[in-house]
Amino acid sequence: MAILQTRDLNKWFGGLHVTGGVDFALEDGEIHCLIGPNGAGKSTLFRLFLGEHLPTSGQIFYQGEDITKAKPFERIRRGISVKFQVPGIFKALSVRQNLQIALQHHRLPEELDEEIDRLLEFLKLTDARYQLAGNLSHGQKQWLEIGMAVALRPRLLLLDEPTAGMTPDETAATGEMVQELNRDGVTVLAVEHDMAFVRQIAHRVTVLHFGKIFAQGTIDEIVSDERVAAIYLGDAHA
């Protein structure tokens, strides 16, 4: 069953057709990567899923319910969670407070401390818990935000370039985190440029080109598709 589905989704910015009749289905329980050249409309599609943009026409369904017009916070409360490309953390607050704010909406006060400690360990940030989030390394900031997204116990996790700016080691560790979450039942949709990372985590891959779905399949099918190579991978490998 599809956890997230779109029907003929269109978005125009003035005369620019950035999302062109997208029919997309994300299966429950999969890790799905969204790739495509710059300007392919990946970020716009993401914002449509989150409700930061409203589509010009078409519909979005989450667990079979129409959420096309739902406000962003309403979608989050239904079980969608997001990690932004630029780490969206609360820089002037401590790591612990960041997690507390993410958690407190959904947990009883007496569960909070234990849950924060558990998350800190998962994120390898236990030693940094009293530091200001703004003073963390870039990779740690990315992890902290993943932790905040995970703290909501989402059913669907949207990741916008989760490994941007990470070292190869950090990237690999992030991949393991994502896989662990997936094993616990979280469906993951990630926009990603790093093909090694995509190969590590993706069950299925969708290629966007000029706002339309260009190709879909396993990473091996995508890599061996000559049309895809021509528009994207060819350039990237050149």
């Binding site: 989050i76 969670s81 932004f84 407070q97 704010i101 909406h105 905040m148």
Partner: protein, 357 residues
């Protein structure tokens, strides 16, 4: 057991992470300052004590602005609008109903409620209309200036509510002082020692109450919205509601200032909502350090005291000095002068006790 839990969680909130002053040294100094403030009337003339209540009157408005601007990240330029609404409401209500049977206290509550209601309506359109940043500042400033203009043209006899004349630019006067009904006869709070203690008690209560608020779950979210509204919303919070609630509480505190001021001097004028008046709270709060209640409180009292001294000693340039002070603060210590000093002292102290937390 439940009571003990409540007590410990209350202490935890009073001493929480969203307030700069924490731990034993802070609360020792707090107690010391409070004792000094309580002892002050014993060593001073009643007339002076009553006059100096003036300084306390403004602090409520400043604390409210600290909540809206410093903690919530929304610059409201309209604190004086709510100050004026509550001040005039108090004037109209108390003039009409008099000061018997504790009716002035009813007038106080009704006036603060009027300011809160007004801010709720205005705030609804601002926050649910997604107006933010400099535009919110412009709209709130416009509102206070419109109110000033409106009150300024109420000089004619047709501008009368019951027995209360609004009096245009001459200002409204003659309303009764706050009066507490008491067994041996009413206590009238003229600017004297009784008023001093009442206002001080109210100030301490508001300060501690706000400390609880900003360290609560609500305060956490408010600060999160200031830091990154998008992320806060994407954690499932309806940020408009949080901003609106903070705005209403902060504006109600400005209203409280308005009532206390009007009752203290038995007088209010449209100028209290004018451009100069609207700018001053920004200066107090910015100079002290808007993102903390304690620095706001200290900064406001210092700046008010300095301003008063400059005005009394013949300088016509007190306002210019205020402007220069604001510019210097923004350039040298954008987080506030008292805040920067406090952070410095706190940092030195923390280094000594590092690793204890």
């Amino acid at each position: 057991m439940a009571r003990a839990n409540l007590l410990s969680s209350t202490i935890r909130l009073l001493d929480g992470p969203q307030t700069l002053g924490r731990g034993r040294p802070f609360w020792t100094s707090f107690a010391l300052v409070l004792v000094l403030a309580c002892a002050y009337p014993m060593f001073a003339d009643g007339y002076d004590v009553g006059n100096n209540v003036y300084f306390f009157n403004w602090v409520f408005m400043a604390l409210g602005l600290s909540l809206i601007w410093g903690y919530g990240g929304t610059l409201s330029f309209g604190q004086t609008a709510f100050f004026g609404v509550a001040g005039y409401s108090y004037g109209v209500i108390s003039t009409n109903f008099g000061d018997a049977y504790g009716l002035t206290l009813v007038a106080l509550i009704a006036s603060v409620a009027a300011a809160a209601l007004f801010s709720a309506v205005l705030g609804y359109f601002l926050f649910f209309g997604r107006i933010s940043g400099v535009f919110l500042g412009i709209v709130t400033l416009s509102v206070t200036l419109v109110l000033e203009r409106f009150m300024a043209q109420t000089a004619g006899p047709e501008w009368q509510v019951g027995t209360a004349r609004l009096n245009g630019y001459n200002g409204m006067g003659g309303m009764p002082s706050l009066t507490i009904p008491w067994f041996g006869g009413d206590i009238v709070l003229f600017p004297d020692v009784q008023l001093y203690y009442c206002t001080l008690a109210l100030l301490v209560a508001c300060y501690l109450g706000l400390r609880l608020l900003v360290n609560s779950r609500f305060g956490n979210v408010l600060v999160a919205i200031r830091e990154n509204p998008q992320r806060a919303e994407m954690l499932g919070y309806d940020i408009r509601v949080y901003q609106l609630v903070a705005f209403v509480i902060g504006s109600a505190l400005a209203g409280l200032s308005g009532v206390l001021y009007t009752s203290w001097g038995n007088y209010i004028t449209p100028a209290s909502m004018g451009m100069t008046a609207a700018a001053l709270p920004i200066v107090w709060v910015a100079v002290g350090g808007r993102s903390d209640l304690t620095t706001t409180l200290i900064g406001t009292l210092i700046v008010l005291g300095g301003f008063q001294a400059l005005t009394i000693h013949g300088s016509q340039y007190a306002l210019v000095v205020m402007g220069v002070l604001l510019v210097l603060t923004v350039l040298i210590a954008p987080r506030g002068l008292v805040f920067s000093l406090g952070a410095l002292a706190g940092g030195m102290f923390r280094r000594k006790t590092a690793g204890r937390e």
